[in-house]
Every structure is written in structure tokens, then in C-alpha cells.
């Protein structure tokens, strides 16, 4: 049943931003979306601990404890300064806080780390494109934002159907 719903959304996603599909629960991410909890057990001990702190930060963000979330992401980077997902979470945080320039800088850092660590899979790319699009839209650069958001929706309509990424969708 849920699969059908997702497929229906996928067909419609490219053409709308606000529809019934966007009323899906924030935690109800589809099979296409990258959830950081899925990969939190990977890597060396430093990366795993760092990922735990990122997940903790996303929970704090979901509870609107913004300062705590920032602190968790900062600590995640202290443990593993090369963790691209910490920068991804920071970018998401800054998009939702209305600080697009900061978000774009974090996305650049995340993308270059993902690239060199060969973790730039389509499931991550959807978030990179979507967040970049959302940040550009926030910065008033709608024309640049639209194709990126459209591509993110295409790659992952379940998460990016509404043009935004909730903390729990990334968690």
C-alpha cells in the first residue's frame, strides 16, 4: 500500500510542491532517501562516534533545540573533521534557519569530502542537490534553485517532494 503511495507521489512529484504526498509523516522517508542512521555504523571508530553525534544533533534539530544541534555537529567534527555528513547536517540546519550562505559553504565542503571519500552516491546526491536548491531559493536565486530542486525531486520524490528536508528525514 505504502509502495503504491510512493509510486503515485513519484509520478506526480515533478509537477507539484504542495500536495497530499507532502503530508506524509516526516519520518516516513521512502526507499530512495539516504538516512544517516543507515550508515552510522560504517567506518573507523572515529567516524562511527562522529556519526552518533550527528544523529544526536539531528534529533536536537527536530526538537527545535537549535543551539544544542549546532554544538553536536561541532563535536562531531572535533571527533572526525573529515565527516562529510556532519557538514551535510550543518547545511540542512542553516537552510532551515534561513542562513543560505552558510548552508552553501557547508554543502561545498560536504560535497568535496564525499567526492574524495567516494561516497557520492545518487542517494546522497539527492540531498546535496535539494539542499543547494533550497539554499539558493532562500537566498532569492530562484532561477538557479528550480532545476536543482526538480532534479532532487526526480531522484528522491519521497523526501524532496515538498522541496525541503526535515531533520528526521535525514536522520
Amino acid at each position: 500500500m505504502r509502495l503504491r503511495l510512493h509510486m503515485g507521489c513519484a509520478l506526480l512529484a515533478a509537477g507539484f510542491a504542495a500536495s497530499g504526498c507532502t503530508t506524509l509523516n516526516a519520518t516516513d522517508a521512502g526507499p530512495g532517501s539516504l538516512r544517516l542512521s543507515e550508515i552510522a555504523g560504517r567506518g573507523d571508530p572515529q567516524r562511527r562516534s562522529s556519526m552518533q553525534l550527528v544523529l544526536q544533533g539531528l534529533e536536537a534539530d527536530a526538537d527545535l533545540r537549535s543551539a544544542q544541534a549546532l554544538s553536536d555537529y561541532g563535536n562531531a567534527l572535533r571527533v572526525d573533521p573529515s565527516n562529510p555528513y556532519a557538514y551535510l547536517a550543518l547545511a540542512r540546519h542553516h537552510v532551515s534557519e534561513g542562513a543560505p550562505e552558510r548552508a552553501l559553504a557547508h554543502l561545498d565542503r560536504s560535497e568535496s569530502l564525499l567526492r574524495v571519500q567516494q561516497e557520492l552516491t545518487p542517494r546522497v546526491e539527492a540531498h546535496l542537490l535539494g539542499l543547494r536548491g533550497a539554499a539558493l531559493a532562500e537566498a532569492g536565486r530562484g532561477r538557479e534553485a528550480e532545476p536543482l530542486l526538480a532534479r532532487a525531486r526526480e531522484l528522491d520524490p519521497w523526501t524532496w517532494g515538498d522541496g525541503r528536508l526535515a531533520a528526521l528525514e535525514l536522520r
Partner: protein, 765 residues
């Protein structure tokens, strides 16, 4: 005393009590220590850290997980530890107290669980450590406490020994005065004081220490005025924050809050009865009963305080017995982190302008810095001991005049976040406050060369060279209006046709100067500026060889940009600045900007790895450091400045050594700066560097013929691997005119290796 005099005294009292009662120096705290599975607890010195933070040791238990453990206590057994963390206050990231169990595998933290639920934790934070304060001229430090945070047994202990009728008198205790007078007459001298807490407060707040009848009279009058105007709790709280309780070096410790942290390493609310009694015991003569120097005397007086508390009915006999039997458990005496004053000055320069010296000395701000306490200590040792060892090996570098001694600096940054992890601006802050890391500008010498190569390798749209381009190290003459410029190599030889790698690894001046001329000085300067150099750069031919004066901080930042794949970080010395009410009033978040492409930066990194593997910085390997390291030495004209700026995937460290008044060292940087760099990195990493300099996808690896730089295809007699930005690989081939065969394509794509591995698997199966 005349009415006018009383009015004057009343004005003095009210103005102090109604205004800011205490000047509290702002305090700088280190970054918190993060514990996580996989961490090497021995390398971070976890046991010492817990001691410094005042965690009280408890005897081992048969089952470590069972039973209650008080906050601030710890149990350490061979393969595990249980610690009841205190947590810490912070307006944006408070940590609650947690009772944790840490299991070890040798020197590695295997697991952390929170008790009693036994919940697995990914990481926990230990409270930040104080690294220094911004003092006023009085050099007094205090940690203000509210009466509600002071344990009742501390109040009782102080009252028992200093003023047992505090609750009932009106500022002056006649019975006590008479009693003290009788005791003094009997003893034939002054043995006992008759002052109440209020009188002591009046004396400390308003009066000089002179012993005259007039001053005594003023003290009594002021005590009466204070009691008339303010309630007992307010007076007691002021007293507990004002009282002098000892010295930390040249800093006076005032108040029970600061004393509790100094003597026991913990906040006052966590004091135990015997500790409270000891603080009360110290009040009468903080230096004469200093528990570090006069332990027996301090313990004797502590027990006297306990007896007084028992006699006055403030504690029961069982508590008194247990307090008297307790040994003096003091936290190790702490001085401020050695060498951190340079960091504090650098931090002050980064604060918003409103935080001037007066504000910092009085407002009691808390500044959460980026400094890593352990790295800072390692940096101080590496620099100070490294320079001393140079002076021992080369006595001609010694100078008698302290202001003319050989100097140096070391700065360590995190390239991804721009955090300064350690900074030592000189050998001794006491002797010279000039910070050579952030304030000095010295010629970078060959440490500047990576910017020339970055400019040459950067596609704009085409690169000037690739890593396969042969370079020319034959005599060069550049005619300038001031006369000809003819650079020479360190060994005074010319090396003819050399590879890019040889030119960088052997730090060849002539080949690099020629490359600089090909690229153009404007472009070299532009790349250096984009990467992070802010000092003025003269666009003269010798810029390629590092004639420009730059600071070690700038160099560290520019190399951080290379290490970070072309993303330049904003330098940060602090994260949060919190006022005395606990509100965050300034914050410095992670910031960065992309200034160069990742592929070019990776090629430069690869060249700089060669400098460490085979070139002038081989001393890093000789020192036993394993793992990914890249860097460049630099020696200025006449060997006046010795540099090494090196990086790992997670840290950039710049070292500069020289005299403040430039003089020749007579030594190359490989023998001066590299050993100090290696000593520091070996200390903080344990000799094993984590991570790798992974190539971004736009970098491809191909075989080339080393002499010509042509693409080596099937049939080429000699070849070696080299890296290129995709699309910049050589057009020429070896053998000449050959075309790529399927074999070549497979080899480039790594398919041959894969098929060989498959074959090997099949054979072994």
C-alpha cells in the same frame, strides 16, 4: 565619630553594594575533551585529566556497575573505569551529570555505557578546563557563587570558626571582642581577632590593612552600617565571594568558588564536609595553612574546625568522625597552561571591539575557546625543548641577553574548521609578549613555493605545466631596472632537466624561479592571496622564492586551504562568549569559502607528500611518523629564517625558528624546524597519522616516460605513474606515435589489476 563621617562611610558602603561588588576577570576555557569508542585514552592522558578535574578516586568494587557512585567520583580498575561526570553549565550546550562506565581494550576505549540503564553512548564530553584569565592590575581571580549553591556544611564551617554568633549580632560582636582581648592578654600578644564576618568584609572591601585605632573604628562603623542596610544572606554571600584563600602563582584566589576549583578541582556545590572544613580552616592564614605546602598543619586546623562544628551542634558525631578521619584529597596543583598566554592574546584580538581590556578584566565573561589543552602542552614542550636542544647542539646560536635569544613559534590548526588547536608565540611569554605566530612577518623562503606550483598547475583554462612536464634548472638571468637577477640553488649547482617532483622535493630555486616567470608573478600572488596570504606581496621575480614577509598564521591558513582541497577556512580561536548571567553574547561559527579547485590542490598535496617521502622534510619519516603527511621546508636568504609548514588530513602545523633581529642560523630548515614539527606531531598522534589524502575523481593516474614526460604506452622501455587533472594528460606518447591499445586502456582503468586479482583468487581457491 562625627555624623558627617558616618554619612561619608555610608555613601562608600552603599555605592559599593549597589554597584558592581566584584571585578571578576574573564576566564578562557579549553575545548571540551570528547570521549568516544576508539579513542586512545592513554594518549589523551585520561587519568591525569580526571585528576586535574578533581574526580575523587574510590576503591575498586567486585561489580563495577552496581551501587551508587557520587557525582565527581571515579573508580578505576585494570580494564574499565566508572566515572560520575559532573556535567557542566553552558547556555547552549549544557551537559547533564552522567554516571558512565568505560571499558578499555588496552589503551583504546572500547565502549561507553550510561548507568544505571546501561545505555550505549557514542560519545561523552568532559568539562572544559580553564586555560587562563584576563586579569586587571590586581591579578585576583574569583568564581562568583550564589548562596543557594553553597553547601550548608561550608556555611556552617565558616561560621563555626570565624563568627559563631553571626546570625544574632549587628555587625560587631562585643562578647567576641572581650574574649579575644582576654585570650591575647593571656598569650602575651595578638593571637585571636575579634572581628565578625561583617567587619572582615568591611575591611577587605573598603579599608587598608594598616592597624590603627581609627581604622578599627571605621571598620566597626561600616560593619554596623552594612548590617543596618543589608540582610544577613546578602552579607554572607558577599563575604564568601570576597575572602582571600591563597595564591595560584602570582594570582590571588578570592572566594570559596575559586578556592573550591583550585584546591579540589570542582564546583563549590560538590564539596564534601571535610573539604568545606578545610576551606574554612584556611581563611585565618591562607599561606601559613596552605594544604599543598603545610599539609599537616592544614589537616590539624581542619580537624579543629570539625570539632568546633560538632561542639556548636552544626554536625553530628558520626559526620565529625568521618570528616576527621578523611585524608586531605587535593586536586593536583594547577597553574595556567604554560605558554597559553600567547593564545589568550590572539583570542582577545579576535573578540568584538566592545570587549576591551577593562571589560575583560571585570565582567566575568566565560569564553569557550578552540584550544586543545593537551596539544597546547605538547606544542610548548616541542618548541621550547626543541630550541634548547638546537642551542646545545650548536652553541653559536646561544645568546646571553634574554631579549636576543633564538626564538620560534608553532601553530596548529584544523583545516576543515579553521580552529586553532595550539599556539605558542615564543619561548617565554614572561620574557617577550611578541607573538611570532600572528604578529611577526618574515620571509617565507621556499615554503612559499607551493603557491608557485599551484598557480602553474591550475587550469585557467589550461595549466602552465602538468606533473609530467620537464623543468629547466639551468642558469637563469632576469633583467630588472635595478640590475640582473640570477637565482642560485642551495647547493650552488644547476641540475639541468628535472621533473616537477624533483624540483619540489629538492627545493630547486632556479627551476622554480623560471616556472614563476612562465606563470607570471601576478598570478602567483593571486593564488597565494586566494589561499590565505594577506600580507603585501611584491610582484617581483624573487617572489617565487619566498621573498615576501608573511606570518606563520597566514602560512598555516594557506596550507590549510591546500589540505582542505581548495576550501579556505576562517580562523577561529573561540566558539562562544558567555556573559556573567550565562547568556551567549558572541559566537564564531565554522566558516569557509572555496577559492581553488580540489584537483589542483590535490596535485600540490601529492608534490608535498614527496617532500616528506624523499625530499628536504624526510626528517619527519626519520622521526618515526607514519601515515599521510605533506609539507614544505623554507629557509630564507642567509639562513635567517627556518620554516616547516606541514599537514596531515586533519591538522596543519607551521613552525618558524629564527632571531627577532634577523641573523644567520647557519642551518637549513630541515635541521631546525622539521625536528620540532616532528616532535609535536609524534606527541599528539602517537606517531601514527589517521586518514588519507584521497584523490578527487577529476584526478587520473597514468604511466609516463620520466625523461620526456610523454604518455608511456605498450612498448615504452621505462615508465612511472603520475597524476593529472582529467583532460590535461600528455598528448605525446612513448614510443612516439603509438596509440593506446586495449592493454593500455585496461591498465589505466585498473582492469588488469582486477583481472589479475580474479585470476589469483581462482588459482588459490
Amino acid at each position: 565619630m562625627a555624623g558627617g563621617e558616618l554619612v561619608r562611610l555610608d555613601r562608600i558602603v552603599t555605592s559599593r553594594f549597589e554597584g558592581r561588588r566584584f571585578r571578576v576577570p574573564s576566564r578562557v576555557l579549553s575545548a571540551p575533551t570528547i570521549l568516544y569508542p576508539g579513542l586512545d585514552w592513554k594518549r589523551i592522558g585520561l587519568r591525569d585529566l580526571l585528576d586535574r578535574l578533581g574526580y575523587q578516586p574510590e576503591p575498586a568494587r567486585s561489580n563495577l556497575e552496581l551501587g551508587r557512585l557520587e557525582i565527581g567520583h571515579r573508580i578505576w580498575v585494570s580494564r574499565a573505569a566508572r566515572v560520575h561526570l559532573r556535567g557542566f553549565d553552558h547556555p547552549t550546550r549544557p551537559e547533564r551529570p552522567r554516571d558512565i562506565l568505560i571499558r578499555f581494550d588496552g589503551s583504546i576505549v572500547r565502549e561507553i555505557r550510561e548507568l544505571p540503564e546501561s545505555r550505549v553512548l557514542g560519545a561523552v564530553l568532559l568539562e572544559p578546563e580553564p586555560i587562563g584569565s584576563y586579569y586587571g592590575p590586581d591579578r585576583a581571580q574569583r568564581d562568583l557563587v550564589r548562596l543557594g549553591d553553597v553547601p550548608q556544611h561550608l556555611v556552617d564551617a565558616v561560621l563555626a570558626v570565624e563568627d559563631q554568633r553571626f546570625a544574632s549580632h549587628h555587625g560587631v560582636d562585643l562578647r567576641r571582642i572581650v574574649g579575644a582581648a582576654i585570650a591575647n592578654v593571656r598569650a602575651g600578644g595578638i593571637r585571636q581577632g575579634g572581628s565578625t564576618l561583617t567587619q572582615q568584609l568591611a575591611k577587605n572591601f573598603f579599608l587598608t590593612p594598616e592597624r590603627t585605632y581609627r581604622r578599627k573604628l571605621e571598620e566597626a562603623a561600616m560593619a554596623l552600617l552594612i548590617e543596618a542596610r543589608y540582610d544577613k544572606d546578602e552579607i554572607l554571600e558577599s563575604y564568601l565571594n570576597e575572602i582571600y584563600l591563597g595564591q595560584r602563582g602570582s594570582t590571588a584566589i578570592h572566594g570559596v568558588g575559586e578556592a573550591s576549583r583550585f584546591y579540589f578541582g570542582k564546583p563549590v556545590r560538590h564539596l564534601e564536609l571535610e573539604e568545606s572544613a578545610l576551606l574554612a580552616a584556611i581563611i585565618q592564614s591562607p599561606n601559613g595553612t596552605n594544604p599543598y605546602r603545610h599539609a599537616e598543619k592544614a589537616q590539624e586546623r581542619r580537624n579543629l574546625v570539625v570539632s568546633l562544628m560538632l561542639r556548636q551542634g552544626r554536625i553530628d558525631p558520626a559526620s565529625a568522625r568521618s570528616a576527621r578521619e578523611a585524608s586531605l584529597r587535593l586536586s593536583p596543583p594547577t597553574s595556567e597552561v604554560r605558554g597559553a598566554r600567547y593564545f589568550l592574546d590572539a583570542l582577545r584580538r579576535q573578540l568584538p571591539e566592545v570587549y576591551d581590556s577593562e571589560t575583560l578584566a571585570a565582567e566575568g565573561l566565560r569564553i569557550y575557546s578552540t584550544l586543545d589543552w593537551r596539544m597546547q602542552r605538547a606544542a610548548v614542550s616541542a618548541l621550547v625543548e626543541g630550541i634548547e636542544s638546537l642551542e646545545k647542539q650548536h652553541p653559536r646560536l646561544r645568546r646571553e641577553d634574554p631579549s636576543a635569544r633564538l626564538q620560534g613559534c608553532l601553530i596548529a590548526l584544523r583545516p576543515q574548521t579553521g580552529e586553532i588547536l595550539a599556539l605558542v608565540g615564543g619561548r617565554s611569554y614572561g620574557a617577550s609578549q611578541f607573538d611570532r605566530c600572528t604578529q611577526a612577518r618574515r620571509p617565507a623562503g621556499s615554503a612559499f613555493k607551493p603557491f608557485v606550483y599551484a598557480a602553474a598547475l591550475e587550469p585557467r583554462p589550461e595549466p602552465t605545466i602538468t606533473l609530467a612536464t620537464p623543468m629547466d634548472d639551468s642558469p637563469l638571468r632576469v633583467d630588472l631596472p635595478t640590475g640582473p637577477w640570477e637565482p642560485a640553488n642551495f647547493d650552488h649547482e644547476f641540475h639541468g632537466r628535472v621533473s616537477v617532483r624533483e624540483a619540489m622535493e629538492s627545493s630547486l630555486n632556479v627551476a622554480t624561479a623560471r616556472l614563476g616567470q612562465d606563470v607570471g608573478m601576478g598570478r602567483v600572488a593571486d593564488v597565494a592571496r586566494r589561499l590565505g596570504i594577506e600580507s603585501w606581496l611584491p610582484t617581483v621575480p624573487s617572489l617565487s622564492l619566498g621573498v615576501a614577509d608573511v606570518s606563520p598564521l597566514e602560512m598555516a591558513r594557506a596550507y590549510a586551504t591546500i589540505a582542505g582541497g581548495g576550501v579556505r577556512p576562517e580562523i577561529r580561536t573561540f566558539e562562544d562568549l558567555v556573559d556573567s548571567q550565562g547568556r551567549t553574547v558572541a559566537r564564531r561559527e565554522i566558516g569557509f569559502v572555496r577559492v581553488a579547485d580540489g584537483g589542483t590542490m590535490w596535485l600540490v598535496t601529492s608534490l608535498l607528500e614527496g617532500v616528506v617521502e624523499r625530499g628536504t622534510a624526510y626528517g619527519v619519516r626519520r622521526a618515526g611518523i607514519r601515515g599521510p603527511v605533506a609539507g614544505k621546508t623554507g629557509t630564507s636568504d642567509d639562513e635567517r629564517d627556518a620554516w616547516f609548514v606541514g599537514f596531515t588530513p586533519e591538522m596543519v602545523v607551521a613552525v618558524w625558528i629564527g632571531f627577532d633581529e634577523p641573523q644567520s642560523l647557519g642551518l637549513a630548515s630541515s635541521r631546525v624546524a622539521v625536528p620540532i614539527w616532528a616532535r609535536f606531531v609524534a606527541d599528539v598522534t602517537g606517531g601514527s597519522v589517521r586518514g588519507s589524502f584521497a584523490a578527487p575523481p577529476e584526478v587520473i593516474e597514468l604511466d609516463i616516460e620520466p625523461n620526456s614526460g610523454a604518455l608511456a604506452l605498450s612498448g615504452c622501455p621505462v615508465s612511472r605513474r603520475e597524476f593529472f587533472l582529467e583532460g590535461t594528460e600528455p598528448a605525446e606518447t612513448c614510443p612516439e606515435g603509438a596509440v593506446r591499445s586495449q592493454f593500455d586502456l585496461d591498465r589505466e582503468a585498473g582492469r588488469l589489476r582486477d583481472s589479475f586479482m580474479q585470476w589469483l583468487d581462482d588459482v588459490l581457491r
